[in-house]
């Protein structure tokens, strides 16, 4: 029982990071219609940018905020310089995915060129712990969980309760009709990449904070969890990705605790495959929202 509770606790903490990352990933797909595999390497970039700032003795949460902004801008630039030109040339959906896979690998090795292949650490593992019920969390875990919840609720409110949020959803479903409404969809797309890039940056730093040590593969090896979470929640639906993150986080920690840590990745893949077979539009799909992935 103690093992289970521990695993669930870890699962919630991991799940928060997965959710944070999955939501950004999901927003990119849902609104920009790009399945951006470079996302993983962008998270690695965030971890190392964060690491660099940490060396300046900045507070780790300030580092997270600053890094988010930097990765947000980098994401907009990435989309404008690589993805939009590809789409303008009529590159297919799969063609764009392949471009993002390639760009991800390039970025990963650019990072290696700068920081090497050695392991780095944020050194946030120690520190006070808080226990509630039978769960034990470090304060940084709690801050990350809290941040995630706040960002997710904020995003939900943004997407469903504000005009720009609805314009984002409108642009994602039908760019031509959005333009016919006078919406400057290019700006909406930029804003989408800014927002999702910020989530990517926050997730990258959060991941670095919660892992003992990391290297240049940090983000790319984490990508499968986020994809599984995004698909579980119905890709393109942020609140779905949030729940998906928790489920994947907890399931993988339980598998790790009861069988072997080696099964953590396996669980993510299994969830992904089952979902694609059984409910390709996600657990909470309401009809047509995710037809694109189902048909892709």
């Amino acid at each position: 029982m103690k093992l289970l509770i521990e695993a669930i606790g870890f699962g919630i903490a991991t799940g928060a990071v997965i959710a944070l990352g999955a939501v950004g990933f999901s927003v990119q797909f849902g609104i920009s219609n790009v399945l951006n595999i470079t996302y993983g390497s962008m998270m690695t970039l965030a971890a190392f940018v964060g690491y660099a700032f940490l060396q300046l003795n900045l507070n780790v949460w300030l580092v997270m905020a600053v890094t988010s902004v930097i990765v947000a801008v980098a994401s907009v630039v990435f989309n404008r310089l690589l993805l939009e030109p590809l789409k303008r040339r009529g590159t297919s959906f799969v063609g764009v995915i392949i471009a993002t896979v390639s760009a991800g690998i390039v970025l990963q090795y650019v990072i290696v060129a700068f920081v090497g292949a050695t392991a780095h650490s944020f050194g946030q593992q120690s520190g006070r712990t808080v226990s509630a019920l039978d769960f034990v969390f470090t304060t940084s875990q709690l801050i990350i969980i809290g941040t995630t919840v706040v960002l997710m609720v904020g995003l939900h409110v943004l997407l469903t309760g504000t005009k720009i949020g609805r314009a984002m959803r409108a642009t994602s479903t039908n760019r031509t009709v959005a333009r016919a409404c006078g919406i400057r969809t290019e700006r909406i797309i930029d804003f989408t990449w800014l927002l999702s890039g910020a989530l990517c940056g926050a997730a990258g730093v959060a991941l670095a904070i919660t892992t003992v040590s990391f290297d240049f593969t940090l983000g790319s090896s984490f990508l499968i969890y986020m994809i599984a979470a995004a698909v579980l929640g119905g890709i393109g639906q942020p609140y779905g990705a949030m729940v998906g993150g928790l489920v994947v986080g907890i399931a993988s920690q339980i598998a790790g605790a009861y069988w072997s840590p080696a099964y953590q990745d396996v669980i993510a893949f299994v969830i992904l495959i089952i979902m694609l077979l059984v409910r390709p539009r996600g657990l909470f799909s309401t009809g047509t929202a995710n037809r694109r992935l189902a048909n892709a």
Binding site: T173, V177, A180, C181, G182
Partner: protein, 253 residues
């Protein structure tokens, strides 16, 4: 007898020698179209004639290879759609004409995106007066609605900005005969009466021509006939090459 609808008054929307298509493929071969304020002009023609491509060229959505598009006499050739929308052109595409994942209310809100809040609310009331059937369905997602309900939403969405020029690509596709009559006679016709310039593409040629001021018959990307709608309706040649087939189609739709 005028030879062009351009003789009547300056055009709100006009094309001159418009050549358009996709990639290297030319679909529209040098088309002149004129739509005056207060006029309802219909383009008819067989499937694949290039009617939608012509409209898309006007809206900057297909590739314009030559020629001009003019809005109130000002050149707008190839301008981005969002700018044209801001300059007063409303457009309902033939397919993919709504925001599927949004509610009816949200579709209409997006239609009035450029309006401020109070304007939008007032305009929404007016538009719902035109389509009262949408009123009880405001919270429904478009993905779960019927073809006719979607078309209504699409046209209502375009009306939200109260455009001066309306470009409609088969706005009655999938609508019942009764609703078709509502859209054509009470909508398109009434909009024209209210001083809008309406450019309509219709498969239901008979129904459309009966309420139109002017007609263009587009065949293989060229204007085969440009004449008062009544004249096209009564033209035995047109009936044979085109209208006959369409009249039969209307029953099937």
């Amino acid at each position: 007898m005028p030879t062009s609808s351009a003789d009547a008054a300056p055009s709100a929307l006009a094309t001159r020698g418009l050549v358009a298509g996709y990639g290297d493929v030319v679909v529209v071969h040098g088309v002149d179209v004129d739509v005056q304020k207060g006029r309802l002009v219909t383009v008819v023609g067989p499937n694949g004639a290039g009617k939608s491509t012509l409209l898309k060229a006007i809206l900057g959505l297909s590739k314009v290879m030559d020629g001009h598009v003019m809005l109130d006499g000002a050149e707008v050739t190839g301008q981005p759609l969002e700018l044209l929308a801001r300059r007063g052109i409303g457009y309902v595409p033939q397919v993919d004409d709504v925001f599927e994942t949004l509610r009816v209310s949200e579709n209409l809100e997006m239609g009035g995106y450029l309006l401020d809040k109070s304007e939008r609310a007032a305009r929404l009331d007016e538009v719902l007066e035109i389509f009262p059937a949408l009123k009880p369905k405001m919270r429904r997602f478009l993905g779960t609605m019927s073809g006719g309900e979607r078309k209504m939403t699409a046209v209502a969405r375009a009306l939200m900005l109260a455009p001066r020029v309306l470009v409609l690509d088969e706005p009655t596709a999938g609508l019942s005969p009764a609703l078709t009559r509502v859209v054509l006679e009470e909508q398109a016709r009434v909009l024209a009466h209210h001083g809008k310039a309406v450019l309509l593409v219709e498969q239901k040629a008979h129904a459309a021509l009966e309420i139109s001021d002017w007609a263009y018959v587009l065949v293989r990307g060229s204007v085969a006939k440009s004449a008062p709608a009544r004249e096209v309706l009564g033209d035995p040649d047109m009936a044979e090459i085109f209208l006959g087939a369409t009249v039969r189609n209307e029953g099937a739709r």
